[in-house]
């Protein structure tokens, strides 16, 4: 196996990990020695339990399948609170228990939530919602650009009730995906894993490093949730790693797929996982600050950047990695944050996806930027044998014969949390 296809949900904290090396349809859900058996009908029914869902079709997908998946809105790592399963994904489908308890996590499989909101609801009044493609190719050139292509997937293809408000229909979609993710991980509740990792205690002589993770919270279909509550209006907040990895932070923002932080992206953690992995050996990990981006005025952006930097001062951080939310004007949120940190003596690095022609904004303090790719590059044409999730792309092209597609439409390809091998270099 190419090392670049290794699943990303590796051990964090002291939470057991249950590897999935094969998935099979069956009459019940079970996990045994790397084989996950899934009752597809039961999972489709479970996903459709909330008011607002009209139908759900379940599909098993494997790495290398000649399949293109369209309308991918959300991805979730199957997880369950081992001590209190009813508190899994707290505040949304679970009891609001803070922080999340010790999780059992399946590694190598995701729940993919597919939905076309525009087919059931009028999105014209949303203004902000980008009517853009969101794809995952499990083979062909598009598979090489995202680590998600090397995972197994239970794809849940939703249609929504048009008569239910968009707010509730979206909630029903998200909750349906989360319920199924919990149900898959529940197969491990009475099982033991050899894969777990306890974080060693920190050596105070190591550099004190933290992370700032920018999130989006602009309204329905553009929200990030903490314990089920939208972060709209929230100031920068310190959250624990248990909250970050453990399902308290969930996605409901369906911006460009390439740069989208799905719930799976938070659960895997990207740079937060890397910082945790370096704990005690290379650095003293101080914590995570989540801060909204895409704020609507310069004043708001500056204010948020200052508050994020202040939270880092309180954590005792001397250095920070900042991850942006999407691209475009949120690069100003990023730049202000780098500037405010450096002004306080906190050294900075950031991950950033570029567009053709460079960044939207820049400051001299941004002297340590790591590329997660050029979002405007094209991925060459590929003809899948099958399409799951909708036969047409947003511009009407048939998904089977779409021709070249921009990398920004491939889920996770330019991950802003850094779980991507894609990097832009100068030619």
């Amino acid at each position: 196996m190419d090392e670049r296809t290794v699943p990303l949900a590796g051990p964090v904290l002291d939470w057991p990990v249950f590897p999935v090396e094969k998935i099979l349809p069956g009459s019940d859900n079970s996990w045994s020695e790397g084989v996950l058996t899934i009752d597809l009908d039961a999972m489709a029914r479970l996903a459709a339990v909330e008011t607002g869902v009209r139908t759900v079709q379940a599909h098993l997908l494997c790495p290398g399948d000649p399949v293109r998946v369209t309308h991918v809105a959300e991805t979730i790592l199957p997880t369950v609170d081992a001590g209190n399963p009813g508190a899994t994904f707290p505040g949304i489908i679970g009891l609001p228990v803070a922080p999340p308890g010790r999780q059992h996590r399946l590694n190598g499989v995701t729940v993919l939530g597919l939905v076309d909101f525009a087919s059931s609801h009028d999105l014209s009044q949303l203004g902000e919602y980008p009517d853009v493609d969101s794809l995952l190719d499990l083979a062909g050139p598009g598979a090489a650009v995202t680590p998600l292509a090397s995972q197994f997937h239970l794809a849940l293809d939703f249609t929504l009730q048009p008569k239910v408000s968009l707010l509730l229909a979206d909630r029903a979609f998200r909750c349906g995906c989360l319920r199924v993710a919990r149900a898959l991980a529940e197969t491990t509740l009475n099982q033991k894993s050899n894969l777990l990792e306890s974080p060693p205690s920190a050596d105070q002589k190591l550099p004190a490093v933290a992370a700032v993770v920018h999130v989006g919270a602009e309204g329905v279909l553009l929200n990030t949730y903490l314990y089920g509550r939208s972060l709209e209006g929230a100031d920068p907040t310190v959250i624990s790693v248990e909250e970050f990895f453990g399902g308290a932070l969930t996605n409901g923002a369906y911006d460009y797929a390439g740069m989208r932080n799905t719930t799976y992206a938070y659960q895997c953690g990207g740079v937060v996982r890397q910082l945790l992995a370096g704990q005690s050996s290379r650095l003293d990990f101080k914590g995570v600050v989540i801060a909204r981006a895409y704020l609507t005025s310069t004043e708001e952006k500056r204010r948020s950047a200052q508050l994020a930097a202040e939270r880092l001062v309180e954590l005792g951080a001397e250095a920070v990695v900042v991850t942006p939310f999407q691209t475009g004007n949120s690069q100003s949120d990023l730049m202000f944050t780098l500037q405010e940190c450096e002004r306080r003596g906190i050294r900075t690095a950031a991950i950033v996806a570029e567009s053709d022609g460079g960044l939207t904004d820049e400051v001299p303090e941004a002297d340590c930027l790591i590329s997660s790719g050029n979002e405007d590059q094209w991925i060459e044409a590929w003809r899948p044998e099958r399409v799951v999730g909708g036969a047409s792309l947003e511009d009407g092209r048939p998904a089977l014969e779409a021709g070249p597609i921009m990398i920004r439409h491939y889920l996770g390809a330019c991950s802003q949390l850094g779980d991507t091998y894609i990097k832009a270099v100068t030619w």
Partner: protein, 337 residues
């Protein structure tokens, strides 16, 4: 494969400095160094260095017309080595050709002004400053030109032997971006600062103040996606690559029955209820009536500034500014969103 070669007055055999004012011209077949390229050259274009640099627009127009007649598969400019004026001409012509879909290859010193004139559009083989390198440089130029002329794509600059063009292409790294970010931060704490993303946005100095706003024609320019109802030009709600000019002649304000915003990056409800709050024609008309401004340009320049690449935004800005300048318009009210 049809190859056209551009040379200055000296290398085209018209003389040295005394012929630097030579206007553009055309010769059949190869001349000078073109004879050593190793393949057939259909035509050679030439121009005096001083003429080109003192009459850039005119020289370019004439040379491009000649190019269009030849319909080449590839254009070769130079080599110009360390010659500044020649390099500028080569870079400028190569860029114009490349922007018209004709791949172009130059050869010059890396610090020649021709490199920036080429704007990353052309492939430039790096040379030293001396013409003595000619026999070593020409085969490298020919190799690139032949492949481009046959429609092949070139690999990375360090493998193919051309100067980086500033194009940012994706490749697969051996480490996750997250791993590289943590390492880069730790390196920075150790005093080793490095970046993967070069900065360097173009800094545009502000224009000179307007001597008399009362005399000036003021234009309205917006990236707010404001278009006539029905979107006749199908301006997209995001990722726009074009701008349009819409008549506002004789209108006292922008009526919601005639204009709407299709911008996909903000909630357009308020703008569509009263388009003047997006593009304030009503307020500008008031100033016009009061004599505070001379007059309002009768066209609104409009595009969508949402998910637009920086490269496209820069190009559209240049095009709109050039159009305004051509029409003698001294001021533009830019309404951003």
């Amino acid at each position: 494969m049809i190859v056209v070669h551009y040379l200055n007055q000296f290398f085209s055999g018209h003389g040295g400095e005394t012929a630097a004012q030579l206007p553009p011209g055309w010769l059949s077949g190869a001349v000078g160094p073109g004879r050593m390229l190793g393949f057939e050259v259909a035509a050679s274009l030439f121009c005096g260095d001083d003429y080109f640099n003192e009459h850039v627009e005119k020289a370019l127009e004439m040379l491009l017309k000649m190019l269009e007649r030849e319909k080449p598969d590839v254009l070769i400019c130079g080599p110009s080595f360390g010659a500044g004026r020649y390099g500028l001409a080569c870079g400028t012509l190569a860029r114009a050709a490349a922007e018209r879909g004709i791949p172009a290859v130059c050869a010059m010193e890396p610090d020649s002004p021709g490199v920036s004139a080429a704007g990353g559009a052309a492939y430039i083989v790096p040379t030293g400053g001396s013409v003595a390198e000619m026999k070593h440089v020409l085969p490298r130029v020919a190799k690139l030109a032949e492949r481009l002329g046959r429609g092949e794509s070139l690999g990375p600059p360090e493998e193919e032997g051309y100067l980086p063009r500033g194009v940012r292409k994706n490749e697969l790294s051996t480490a996750l971006a997250a791993e590289r970010a943590v390492q880069a931060l730790l390196d920075k704490l150790d005093g080793r600062v490095h970046t993967e993303v070069p900065l360097g946005q173009e800094k545009v100095p502000p224009a000179e103040p307007i001597a008399s706003l009362e005399q000036a024609t003021v234009s309205l320019v917006s990236e707010g996606g404001l278009i006539p109802i029905g979107n006749p030009d199908r301006l997209p709600s995001h990722s726009a690559e074009k701008w349009f000019a819409y008549s506002i002649e004789g209108l006292s304000s922008l009526s919601k029955d005639r204009f709407q915003s299709i911008h996909g990056g903000f909630n357009t409800a308020v703008a569509n209820e009263d388009p003047n709050r997006l593009v304030p024609l009503d307020a500008l008309r008031h100033l016009e009536r009061k004599g505070r401004i001379g007059q309002i340009h009768p066209f609104l320049y409009s595009t969508t500034g949402n998910s637009t690449t920086v490269a496209n935004a820069v190009r559209m800005g240049r095009e709109i500014a050039a159009d305004l300048k051509k029409r003698g318009i001294l001021a533009a009210l830019l309404v951003g969103t």
